[in-house]
Symmetry: C2
Subunit: 331 residues, 2 copies
């Protein structure tokens, strides 16, 4: 309906809803990754919702378990982006016709494993049998006891950081769709796994909450999401091509592309990475490196916050250009 993870083409629709929600502090203007209820006991309850359909966010023919797992993980990524810890979820599912009993039992087993891994519990939902592809919607609730990470807050002079690796999600989709065939089995399997089972950066989000100035999860594409932070902070994010963290599989793919710049752009322009993009004061660099070490997770300084608007891309040859791509949109 609205989108807490905003997609540009949906702006007219969301803007109208956001106008209605302007007097509801809990909605955070529908511009963040989630909503927040401030409870009387000092805790904050963070709520996020996402919907996935077979063939839209996943390769056609994905099982209910795969789609449910991805729906849960993308929601958990939104919680991570706000510095919240998962607690509960509600799930609604529309089966295409009568569901297969075997598929249902795998779904139950998968949810059980995911719940254990991410420490959250199913508390409600709904099941219908309908038409069209399998469609799953999840609302996930998490607790934030410390400061809340939000999209707003970037400061001129901040470093821009990103967790993990960028571009694998999109390459994984290409593998799933059969569009990328130049890679060996190891690379292809790795990328597919990254696409199908994104790793929500929950521990990172919790550690960043007290020190990062702003954050979101990369779900629309690095550049589009950097633009969201720039817009929320009324500033410009200057990103450096050569610092974007890429996997070995991505480098193998890059090595057979004709136009390197176009290829790297594609990795930065497409979504589904579910890494955290955040900015922090320069003097937090050492603490961020410590967090990286503690979590065994690469955290890479990929740029800085400057005056201006939008996103600028700096290339190794010293040239700078405004980023134009606005990311994945459903409309």
């Amino acid at each position: 309906m609205i989108s807490n993870s905003t997609k540009p083409g949906e702006f007219a629709f969301i803007a109208a809803l956001a106008k209605q929600a302007a007097h509801t502090p809990e909605a955070l203007g529908l511009g963040d990754d989630g909503a927040v209820l401030w409870l009387g006991d000092g805790r904050k309850l963070v709520l996020v919702a996402d919907m996935l359909q077979a063939g839209v966010h996943t390769m056609k023919g994905a099982s209910a378990a795969q789609i449910a797992s991805k729906a849960l993980r993308t929601n958990l990524s939104d919680l991570a982006a706000m510095g919240a810890e998962p607690a509960f979820y509600l799930s609604t599912i529309c089966w295409p016709g009568a569901p297969d009993e075997h598929e249902m039992s795998i779904l139950v087993e998968t949810l059980e494993n995911e719940q254990k891994q991410f420490n959250l519990s199913l508390i409600g939902g709904d099941t219908i049998c309908g038409q069209g592809p399998l469609t799953i919607s999840m609302t996930v609730l998490g607790w934030a006891s410390g400061p809340l990470l939000r999209r707003v807050g970037a400061q001129i002079g901040d470093d821009v950081w990103v967790s993990g690796i960028i571009g694998d999600g999109w390459l994984g989709l290409g593998v799933a769709q059969g569009n990328i065939t130049s890679l060996d089995t190891n690379d292809a399997d790795y990328l597919l796994g990254r696409y199908e089972y994104p790793e929500p950066r929950l521990a990172l989000g919790k550690r960043l909450a007290p020190l990062a100035h702003c954050a979101l999860d990369v779900s629309d594409g690095l550049i589009a999401d950097a633009k969201h932070l720039a817009r929320a902070g009324d500033c410009c994010l200057h990103l450096d091509y050569e610092h974007i963290p890429l996997s070995n599989a991505a480098r193998h793919w890059l090595s057979v592309q004709n136009n390197q710049k176009t290829a790297i752009n594609a990795l930065m322009e497409n979504g589904d990475d579910y890494e955290l993009l955040f900015t922090a004061a320069v003097d937090q660099g050492q603490r961020i490196d410590e967090i990286s070490h503690d979590l065994g997770l690469d955290l890479t300084r990929i740029g800085r916050v400057i005056k201006g608007q939008g996103v600028m891309l700096g290339t190794p040859d010293g040239a700078v250009q405004p980023a134009k791509h606005s990311g994945f949109t459903h409309f």
Copy 2:
């Protein structure tokens, strides 16, 4: 996924999920109309979720606004059944292909009106463009400050009550589907309205919370839902045919049916009434009559709680028979 408004054919799936949820008090065993978070400040946050798809719960070709309105109202009916007051909602929507701008603007306007009428605010969600019919999922949150109405709690000797009128929802579906053509325009329009825009009994739920022993909203059909209360309370609900409250439009329809008993059974066996079914001690009768008067809403004593299991139906000729129908199920 699971269902807080349980449908019999989904039992194997739900039972497996409920087993997982058994150690989560907030899930209420996935057997109630919603889930509950007990907050440190003494309040209870009630959460309900429902999914609707064009052509499944509404007539084919229903607009996004109609489906959203019904999705919101059926969720609010679940809140009413637990004695909670609406506060917030998150909504996810899957448009079939690119949505029509006009349809989007009507949806926004409709949501605005519904939000005002029911005193709740949109705080989050997601929008995707996919395949298949329009599909909307909503998670609605409400506050309960007093006792919580639940399905469990019926006591032997209780009166069984129902609000409003039974059977109109199913007749309205028949009108929408073109299966019922014997009625005049007034009756047909009335029934259609009852089907498309159910009236969540929020004020009633709040008033009942301190005095009713158990409650749920009639969404699977009066008999199926009475069975839910009987199962939760380990007792039998004895309902009297002649006390089931029917509308004039339903009586007009009945008057041209060949078999009256079969016809009344059909009205009791089919869902979508969204009235509250509850039991209360006999000595609460006067207070319940007062509530009925205060709210301008009929509350009808339709039976009593006896020892045994399931639902028994008493007919005007003194005969009693067990009710067999188990209500609407998606599986």
